[in-house]
């Protein structure tokens, strides 16, 4: 069956792409199943075409998720993509295999400052590329 017309498979693909993006490794089958169930409960209403287009683009091109997310964080914080990533984040955080990825890290001094600076730089770079990409993808659905 074509992925584009199989909502179940689309949601499973989304879970894998978003999970890998958020914690750097593919999520377990249980996490994927939980994401599918959560999506059916929380995203039952149809979203605007532009927002659906961004999610579809991100699902099909995993390399783009970070940039689209960074852009949406600035220009569309309440968008469908952000909502779906938040749900995946919540599900990952509430799973023992990903607990370490969310529990506080005790970095102090120089290590802390360097890590914060690197993360800040990366976030800015992703947003700079992501903003025009996000606009183009959203516009393509209009």
């Amino acid at each position: 069956m074509n992925a584009a017309v199989d909502p179940e498979r689309d949601l499973e693909d989304e879970a894998r792409v978003f999970g890998r993006y958020l914690v750097g490794r593919p999520p377990s089958a249980a996490i994927v199943a939980r994401y599918v169930a959560a999506s059916r409960t929380l995203f039952a209403e149809v979203s605007p075409p532009g927002e659906r287009a961004v999610v579809t683009f991100a699902r099909r091109r995993p390399w783009s998720v970070g940039m689209l997310d960074a852009a949406a964080g600035l220009v569309r914080p309440g968008s469908l993509l952000r909502g779906k990533l938040l749900v995946m984040g919540a599900i990952l955080e509430a799973s023992p295999e990903c607990a370490e990825d969310f529990l506080p890290r005790n970095a102090a001094g120089v290590a802390f400052l360097v890590s914060v600076a690197l993360l800040g730089t990366l976030a800015v770079l992703r947003a700079v590329i992501g903003i025009p990409l996000h606009a183009a993808v959203a516009r393509s659905a209009a």
Binding site: R34, G73, P96, F102, R105, N106, A123
Partner: protein
């Protein structure tokens, strides 16, 4: 006929009942009594971090079976209500409909009322703060002491002593977490200058048992206070209800929704419907104590007296919070052992006024990282990584401001085909809003001097503190919709109010403990009257 019918099992209801039962009066408590039968039993007795690493069922209580624990949109009232606590607000909006433009209403039909999710702050009023109620500290002090003994309070006699009269049976304060230790150490170094400028900091006084007390506690520092009542170390009104249930003079009628009362020749008749079957019931007593929460009681009183469209005042402490970066933590690691509740309490005197502002300092961890991720304008991957680094260094400042009656702050009952609706208007004057903002800046300035850099000010909106009060104020003299100094509603012969309704103004200190002490006083006075 029973001696006293008590409506509601919240902080006021159980403490009034405890005083009545202790004096030998027969009490019948009517309660809707929602509980959480699903999530609380799933939570293991293990520290938060250990539970997170090992419990495969954690997604059920952290997120909820219907993912109700995942909040979307801006920060709202009740952000600290986790799935195991969400039953606290269940059914109330349908049973007591409220129209409130720009004011967030949270009412409870839970066993323990809003107290079932109370953050346990114990802030007794001073003589000055009690003046308008027509009762003074000399009268209320023994009831503060009785409640401290009943509920278990921990704290320390420190710089906050002039603001919070202490009680003899107070237990030692909770251990501070690393974050609060550094803030408190900095305060101690700058204490003289800060005090001279009107800033005072001390250990949080909390209704938490730090040693075994009445079969509860001690606090195990699991950092699970927002999720479960481990060892029952944090006080909930349900613990007093459990004690009352063992007394032959106390009867608990659960699953009933009180609709109205009427006075009879020899007492009060209360009309209720069964919450599940809808069957009508009548209960009678020589007197009635209403402790249904300020808004619930307003609905019930106005309805019972047939007073539609009559305005009564409404108060609620304005509330805001400020996440700050505690620079002293940049070079320190946080320890795992901690309590989720407030660590420190600050009082700020506002110069050239009689106002104070109260602030509390919290650390953040157990309410989960993903809820903060949505607050950052970054990609979630970077947000997650950044928050993991920064969370141990966050000191969250929660601020309460005083509230006084005003022409734009009231509620009234509207007639509706289905049921009567409460209409709430809450519009502070421009002067009040300006004063809150100025006071907020002053508090933030002091916190900056303690090495905490403010990141953002979050104002969840009117009603956010959940400290509703002032609808039928207690005063030496007043009209039918006020209470006398015994908390008796003047429009009635034998109806007494034992919740926030009776407080004529709101100090910024938080009301719950004062509601309990006044309820104990009401119960004691009523017991003597009915002897």
């Amino acid at each position: 006929m029973t001696d006293v019918v008590v409506v509601g099992s919240g902080p006021g209801g159980v403490n009034a009942s405890a005083a009545l039962v202790a004096a030998g009066r027969r009490v019948l408590m009517l309660d809707y009594g929602n509980v959480d039968p699903v999530y609380a039993p799933l939570i293991p007795h293990r520290p938060f971090s250990e539970l997170r690493r090992g419990d495969t069922a954690q997604h059920r209580y952290l997120l909820g079976d219907h993912f109700e624990g995942i909040p979307f949109g801006p920060v709202r009232v009740g952000a600290q209500l986790t799935p195991p606590r969400m039953h606290i607000l269940r059914d109330a909006p349908e049973r007591i409909p409220v129209d409130a433009d720009g004011f967030q209403v949270s009412m409870s039909l839970a066993r323990g009322g809003l107290g079932a999710g109370w953050s346990a702050g114990v802030f007794p009023f001073t003589d000055d703060e009690l003046r308008d109620t027509s009762i003074g500290l000399a009268e209320l002090k023994r009831h503060y002491d009785a409640v401290v003994e009943r509920i278990g309070v921990c704290g320390e006699r420190d710089d906050l002593e002039p603001f919070f009269p202490s009680s003899p049976s107070m237990m030692p304060a909770l251990d501070l977490d690393t974050n609060a230790e550094t803030v408190y150490a900095r305060y101690q170094r700058k204490r003289a200058a800060l005090n001279a400028d009107g800033f005072f900091l001390g250990r949080a006084r909390l209704a938490v048992c730090t040693r075994q007390h009445r079969g509860r506690g001690p606090e195990a520092y699991l950092d699970l206070s927002y999720w479960a009542d481990m060892d029952r170390s944090v006080y909930r009104p349900q613990w007093t209800l459990d004690e009352l249930l063992r007394d032959p003079g106390f009867t608990y009628v659960n699953r009933c929704f009180v609709q109205r009362f009427e006075e009879t020749a020899d007492g009060v008749r209360v009309h209720v419907v069964h919450a599940d079957s809808g069957t009508a019931e009548i209960h009678e007593g020589r007197a009635l104590v209403l402790a249904a929460g300020t808004l619930g009681t307003a609905w019930l009183v106005l309805r019972s007296l047939g007073l539609h469209d009559a305005r009564v005042p409404l108060l609620c402490n304005p509330y805001s919070y400020v996440p700050t970066l505690n620079t002293a933590m940049l070079f320190r690691a946080a320890t795992d052992r901690r309590c989720s509740l407030a660590q420190l309490t600050a009082i700020v005197r506002i110069p050239d006024t009689s106002r104070i502002v109260q602030a509390q300092i919290f650390s953040y961890r157990s309410l989960l990282t993903f809820k903060l991720m949505k607050e950052l304008p970054l990609g979630y991957r970077e947000s997650r990584a950044l928050l993991r680094l920064m969370m141990p260094k966050f000191a969250i400042l929660g601020m309460h401001h005083e509230d006084r009656p005003g022409p734009g702050k009231y509620c009234l009952l509207r007639r509706d085909a289905a049921t009567d609706r409460l209409e709430v208007s809450y519009k502070p004057t421009d002067e009040e809003t300006a004063a809150h903002l100025a006071d907020e800046r002053r508090v933030v300035g002091f916190v900056r001097r303690l090495g905490c850099v403010p990141l953002k000010t979050i104002r969840p909106g009117h009603g956010a503190s959940l400290h509703y009060a002032g609808t039928f104020p207690m005063a030496a003299a007043g009209g039918e919709l006020t209470c006398d100094r015994d908390s008796r509603l003047r429009a009635t012969r034998a109806v007494y109010l034992a919740d926030g309704s009776v407080f004529p103004w709101l100090s910024p200190k938080g009301l719950t403990f004062n509601i309990m002490a006044n309820a104990d006083r009401v119960g004691t006075l009523l017991a003597a009257r009915l002897a």
